[in-house]
């Protein structure tokens, strides 16, 4: 399945957004997590086998720009709709992972009639003081895989294809890109990844599926219960032998789960 990308104008040219696109089938709007999309993203490829996938990169990621005007959760939520508008999408299946799940849930809550089917994959956005989420902004680059993957060794290869963190030049480039990505993510997730979403979940009307990796060490699966409780009629699907990047570790299981929303 070929995935192509293009740079589009969003919000009357206020943002330029890189959108990855591919596949045939019903439209699916995918919002990535704080790490962005991976090179030759396995999850996007798997989704494209059953859907027409649209995966925009948030400004601050790669060559998507205009992040300075996106300061808070409302800006990010409306930006999500601006991208949908620019792509001419009407009522796609909206899928968000982690930070993207937080944005997707906010979108569905703020305009409940606009989103009819919603999948939240290990979404951020809720904070339980008795289950604090690890501070991703204080992690060293080499510490990430432990929190993101069930199979840490395979995860490391996914994250740094062809690169070596001990090479100063590679590390410098990684850290600059990472600072820009996480700098943008920090507007929603720093210092606590919570912006009042739990008080708005009741507004969501979409048929909602919540998906969690059974061995998620970043946002522990106990958080799934809060989304299920908060969103009327939401279903939970837990995927075994998967961590926070459940869609990358178990893409086929994830796609099968999504297809129950069709």
């Amino acid at each position: 399945m070929t995935i192509t990308s293009r740079l589009i104008d969003v919000a009357g040219g206020r943002n330029k957004v890189r959108v990855y696109e591919g596949g045939d089938g019903p439209p699916l709007f995918y919002l990535h997590g704080a790490g962005g999309l991976m090179r030759e993203d396995r999850l996007i490829a798997a989704l494209a086998r059953h859907y027409r996938v649209y995966a925009p990169l948030l400004p601050g990621y790669e060559d998507s720009v205009g992040e300075e005007r996106l300061r808070d959760m409302l800006d990010m939520t409306l930006h999500g709709y601006d991208v949908m508008q620019a792509l001419g999408l009407s009522k796609p299946l909206v899928v968000g992972h982690s930070m993207g799940g937080m944005i997707a849930a906010e979108m569905a809550a703020i305009a409940p009639n606009e989103i009819e089917r919603l999948a939240l994959i290990a979404p951020a956005g809720i904070w339980l003081p008795e289950h604090p989420i690890v501070d991703i902004f204080a992690l060293l680059p080499q510490e990430f895989p432990h929190y993101l993957f069930h199979d840490v060794e395979a995860g490391v290869k996914l994250m740094t294809p062809g690169g070596d963190m001990n090479d100063v030049k590679f590390l410098a480039e990684f850290m600059i890109a990472n600072a820009r990505r996480l700098g943008t993510a920090g507007k929603m997730l720093f210092p606590i990844p919570e912006r009042g979403l739990s008080e708005r979940l009741y507004r969501i009307k979409a048929r909602t599926l919540v998906v969690w990796g059974e061995n998620d060490k970043l946002i522990p699966p106990v958080y799934a219960g809060e989304f299920i409780k908060g969103i009327s009629g939401a279903r939970l699907m837990t995927i075994p032998q998967a961590g926070h990047l459940v869609g990358h570790e178990k893409p086929h299981a994830l796609v099968e789960a999504l297809r129950t929303l069709n």
């Binding site: 204080a138 060293l140 820009r180």
Partner: protein, 411 residues
């Protein structure tokens, strides 16, 4: 030259195995390592040292602002300056807080600095640090990518609050005030001299040049390593078409003076190692929150930073390494003089923030080193360096005339 006797106020009782048992001196260091009753003595010892520095003729007494930090016990530098205000009468009070993005609303800074300036009769010199990432982001929760915008807005509010004679409305993104009305106003109008601590951000260079503030590099790595950064600043000064007054620049330096070079090692080595090995033991994950520095600055500095970070392995550095590589300027008055001349010329800085109390150095040694510097080093440096700028007064305090001033407790 202007010499500020600068105190960090480190906690001097960190255990010997601190590095092994704890990942950071900053942000998440447990407070079980602190003891408030000992802290009572520590604060008063440190005030004694600052007050002593005034009697030795230093131009300014320096305090700063850190949070959740065992080497900087001054979350509120304004409190420290207030305590010094009535115990001193000549020296400038160099307050290298306030981290203006952290005060809510930031008009509080305009008010408190004005109070200090009035109480001291116009002896306040104030710093407006953006604040380190450890303080501003991790300890105080400011969103990294919005820190600078919030800082700029706070700066605009404070300056207007000092400048304007009538109440005004301020509609900022981060602060909205219907009535800005700063009572009292500072003695130094339109403002006291402003010193901006920076760590190589291009935006900070430009900010200092736009408003004629003094750019200060407060590193603990010594002047040899600071050359590249200060060269970058002076290039920017030239590019902006500004004059090259050395008082546009300042530098912090650890200084230890003894009767001989050998004596300096004997007296101070232990305390210097305490400082570099325990006080500067910061978890790298807290050093630079993503978004805190702009991409422009990261691109300019990242490789240098990573390379330097790999080289900066404090536990392996001997006294000789620290002295030879300029982390510490130490030795006899002659040795210290020579290196200070080299420092001032290399970096072209008219302002020195001298760190004489280092790590767990006790008061008697602090006074010994301070006295030797004040009597045998400082006067020569003042008489010999930057003479072509000796009438420069744009970057320093302008206090009330002695005759106008009310006598204070210390006099």
């Amino acid at each position: 030259m202007k010499f500020t006797w600068f105190h960090l106020m480190p906690w001097p009782h960190l255990p010997d195995d601190f590095r092994e048992k704890h990942r950071s001196v900053w942000v998440d260091i447990p407070t079980t390592l602190y003891d408030a009753k000992r802290g009572h003595h520590v604060y008063h010892d440190y005030f004694d040292q600052l007050e002593y520095a005034e009697t030795m003729g230093f131009d300014a007494l320096g305090v700063n602002e850190h949070h959740a930090n065992a080497y900087g016990l001054m979350p509120s530098p304004n409190l420290m300056a207030a305590a010094l205000a009535r115990r001193t009468s000549k020296a400038a009070l160099m307050v290298l807080g306030d981290s203006i993005a952290l005060y809510n609303p930031p008009i509080r800074v305009a008010e408190e600095f004005a109070m200090l300036d009035v109480i001291t009769g116009g002896r306040l010199a104030c710093g407006f640090p953006v604040g380190t990432s450890m303080d501003t982001n991790y300890a105080y929760g400011t969103i990294p990518a919005l820190t600078r915008e919030k800082y700029n807005e706070a700066h605009e509010l404070i300056m207007r609050a000092w400048r304007e004679d009538e109440p005004f409305a301020f509609n900022g993104r981060y602060t909205k005030l219907r009535y800005v009305n700063c009572w009292p106003k500072p003695i130094q109008r339109p403002r006291p001299p402003i010193f901006i601590p920076g760590g190589g951000s291009i935006e900070t260079y430009d900010f200092c040049l736009e408003f004629d503030y003094t750019y200060c590099y407060l590193s603990y790595s010594g002047y040899l390593r600071a050359k590249q950064l200060m060269d970058g600043y002076w290039e920017r000064v030239a590019k902006a078409g500004k004059d090259e007054s050395p008082y546009r620049g300042g530098f912090a330096q650890v200084i230890c003076v003894a009767d001989t070079d050998a004596e300096a090692e004997k007296l101070y080595s232990k305390h210097v190692h305490y400082f570099y090995n325990r006080c500067l033991h910061v978890y790298p994950g807290f050093a630079d929150a993503p978004g805190y520095r702009t991409v422009k600055t990261l691109q300019a500095n990242m490789i240098t930073q990573l390379t330097q970070a790999q080289l900066r392995n404090y536990p392996t550095l001997t006294w000789k390494d620290l002295v030879d590589q300029g982390y510490v300027i130490a030795g006899s008055p002659k040795t210290v003089y020579d290196r200070m001349v080299d420092l001032a010329k290399t970096l072209r800085v008219g302002n020195i923030f001298g760190l004489f109390q280092v790590g767990d150095m006790p008061g008697d040694k602090v006074r010994h080193s301070t006295k030797l510097f004040a009597e045998q080093v400082m006067p020569k440096l003042k008489a010999e360096l930057f003479q072509e700028w000796k009438n420069e007064d744009r970057f320093w305090i302008k206090p009330m005339q002695q005759s106008e001033r009310r006598q204070m407790a210390a006099e």
